[in-house]
Amino acid sequence: MDRALDVEIEDLSKYFGSFCAVDKMNFNVKHGEVFGLLGPNGAGKSTLIRMLTTLVTPSSGHARVNGFDVVQNPNGVRQSIGVIPQAMTSDLDLTAWENMTIFAKLYGLSPQKRKTAIHDLLGAVNLLDWADKPVKTFSGGMRRRLEIARGLVHEPRIFILDEPTTGLDPVSRVAAWEMLDRLRRERDLTVMLSTHYMDEADKLCDRIAIVDHGKLVALDSPLKLKTSIPGTNTIEVSFSSVPADWQRTLESLPDVATVKSDDGVYRLSSNNGPRTVLALMDAVHAAGISVASLSVQSTTLDHVFVHYTGHDLRDAAHKPNPAESRFIIRR
């Protein structure tokens, strides 16, 4: 067992009846890294996180968290992790301080330690002034910050967050990112988070696992993932009409690496965006058609996602996962 590995996953699968939510997944998370699970709703991220947090029993394979097997020694796992579930789970009728106290007690902190830990953490998430206010008076961002503080009350080694910023406004999201980054550095945490926001994964994570239909499709640092796909620019273009053999014409343009078309929109990966666009204009003119829409972007994780999964993150059809109770009130 490698002590530098905080999470080890071997051939981990979860079936709900015949539905495969997680399919033979393998990866490790090193101590101190921020590891992101990126994928659309229904990709299996939450099921994977629930297996790692002992909420769902795996169908096959193994998972160890901080060296503890999630099935053999769930309490070892629970003591090692701080968890922010996807749903907002703070008690609305209780104050921030009371919410923190209940969890500190569930983790068995002594009264003295409890007081210091809660004070420090509420300070760290800028909620000290709100400590005695009921959580029902909090905004979504404040509730999320309180939950981040709550998850750290027992000084866990590993912090696991399931879609921590879903439903937050852009300002609160950035504030949550900064807070997470600071807490991670100050407390020497390993962070594992799931998200379907590309920018969040890009900004926060040291490594990203792209998950789709329960499978791990790519795993690397954001930079390496971006350079792993052809082209440094992506040109998305559509035309007034499409002449014969147009795909081949586009592929023959200078610096073009790949051309993919989807519902009339052509996606060109290019190693030199401006040069390709100029040549594209000439080709359009020569063909006697016109451009209906055109955009040139640097390669982002969006493009990486499309490259590896064959579809857009936003287009991914949401297959209902039987593990997600329809009665769970999500944000």
Binding site: P85, A87, T89, L106, A323
Partner: protein
């Protein structure tokens, strides 16, 4: 107009999409019809009377035989022979029997001598329905006895003297024990049912399950918290209800102590029952749906509003498995008769056993995963 139709369509589509809800909404009134229909006004049967024959001669034996005949045919009451009147009266006070018929020592001699002897019916009047039925039945029995049951050439007739053991019990006092149990049930339903499932649906429990809290701690925590809340509700009703209903000497400390003990036991039993019902439920609509159903099913067959002795057989079986029956009987005995625990030993045993069984079953069914 289209907008109006859209609103109607949406509501009807939702109605159609939830067949369980439709069925349950019909179940509730149907169950009320059946339970309430049989809960009130049925002919009272199976009361128990102690018969003390202090005379033992033929006319007295004949009267005893007529009592036994009514027991065997009309079944208004069953007779329990007692040799000792003191013992019979003790059992009457403890609620083991509903009345005592005493045939005095000189009954036969007086009757044959032309004097009109008196048969005493001492009855437990805490249940007005039962005591009137008993007095009525005894009066007509003596009528029949005087008509054709007496030996020939007898000119005298026996008369009935009815003695009530307790002061007059108005119906509001009769209803109070059931109301105390209902308050405990409401607290159990709110805390152990509706709020528990709402918390579960909101993900509050998910937050607990990722901590090292054990299954036992979780279950006991939920149960004891519910019991404390239900105890508070029950205790308020014990005090406020006693004042409102005009229970004599409402602050009798010994009785209050006895009652609080039964409140705790009832709260434990009802919370455990609720936890067992809810242990595998996720849908917040379910507890709201079964609220009324449970209320009807548990409250009316318990004897809270009308004696169980008037129920048809199937409903008496239902009442024998109903924890309300024992709680109501326990409170009735303590409030209206001011007895100790000896008179309610069966109630205490049932409630304790019920708690242990339902709690054990709920613990087995409880899942510490999602």
């Amino acid at each position: 107009m289209h907008r109006l139709l859209a609103i109607i369509e949406r509501d009807l589509r939702r109605f159609k999409a939830n067949p369980t809800l439709v069925v349950m909404s019909l179940m509730m009134p149907l169950m009320q019809l059946v339970i309430l229909g049989y809960a009130f006004g049925g002919q009272i049967k199976h009361l128990e009377i102690g018969v003390v024959d202090q005379d033992g001669h033929v006319p007295a034996t004949k009267l005893s035989a007529m009592l036994n005949a009514v027991a065997a045919n009309a079944r208004t009451y069953e007779t329990v022979p007692y040799a000792d009147e003191g013992r019979a009266l003790a059992d009457l006070r403890d609620g083991r029997i509903n009345g005592v018929v005493t045939i005095p020592p000189n009954f036969s001699r007086d009757l044959l001598a032309g004097k009109s002897p008196t048969v005493a019916l001492i009855e437990d009047n805490t249940d007005q329905f039962s005591s009137s039925a008993l007095a009525g039945s005894m009066a007509s029995l003596l009528g029949a006895y005087n008509g054709n049951g007496l030996p020939p050439r007898t000119t005298a007739s026996a008369s009935l003297s009815v003695v009530e053991v307790y002061p007059y019990v108005p119906y509001i006092q009769y209803l109070l024990p059931g109301t105390i149990v209902l308050a405990i049930f409401m607290a159990a339903m709110m805390g152990g049912g509706i709020q528990y499932i709402d918390d579960k649906a909101r993900g509050i429990h998910e937050g607990y399950l990722v901590t090292p809290v054990t299954k036992f701690e979780l279950i006991m925590g939920f149960n004891l918290a519910g019991t404390i809340k239900a105890f508070l509700s029950g205790s308020v009703l014990v005090i406020l209800g006693s004042l409102i209903a005009g229970i004599p000497d409402p602050f009798n400390l010994l009785r209050l102590a006895h009652m609080f003990a039964v409140v705790v036991l009832t709260a434990l039993a009802l919370i455990s029952m609720m936890f067992l019902i809810m242990v595998r439920i996720d849908d917040p609509v379910v507890p709201r749906m079964i609220f009324g159903l449970l209320n009807t099913l548990l409250y009316f067959p318990s004897g809270a509003v009308y004696p169980t002795s008037s129920f048809p057989g199937w409903m008496r079986v239902l009442s024998q498995f109903d924890p309300f029956t024992y709680a109501v009987h326990g409170f009735k005995t303590l409030v209206l008769k001011n007895t100790g625990f000896a008179a309610i030993d069966i109630d205490i045993l049932f409630l304790a056993g019920f708690t242990v069984i339902t709690m054990a079953a709920a613990t087995v069914l409880f899942k510490r995963t999602l």
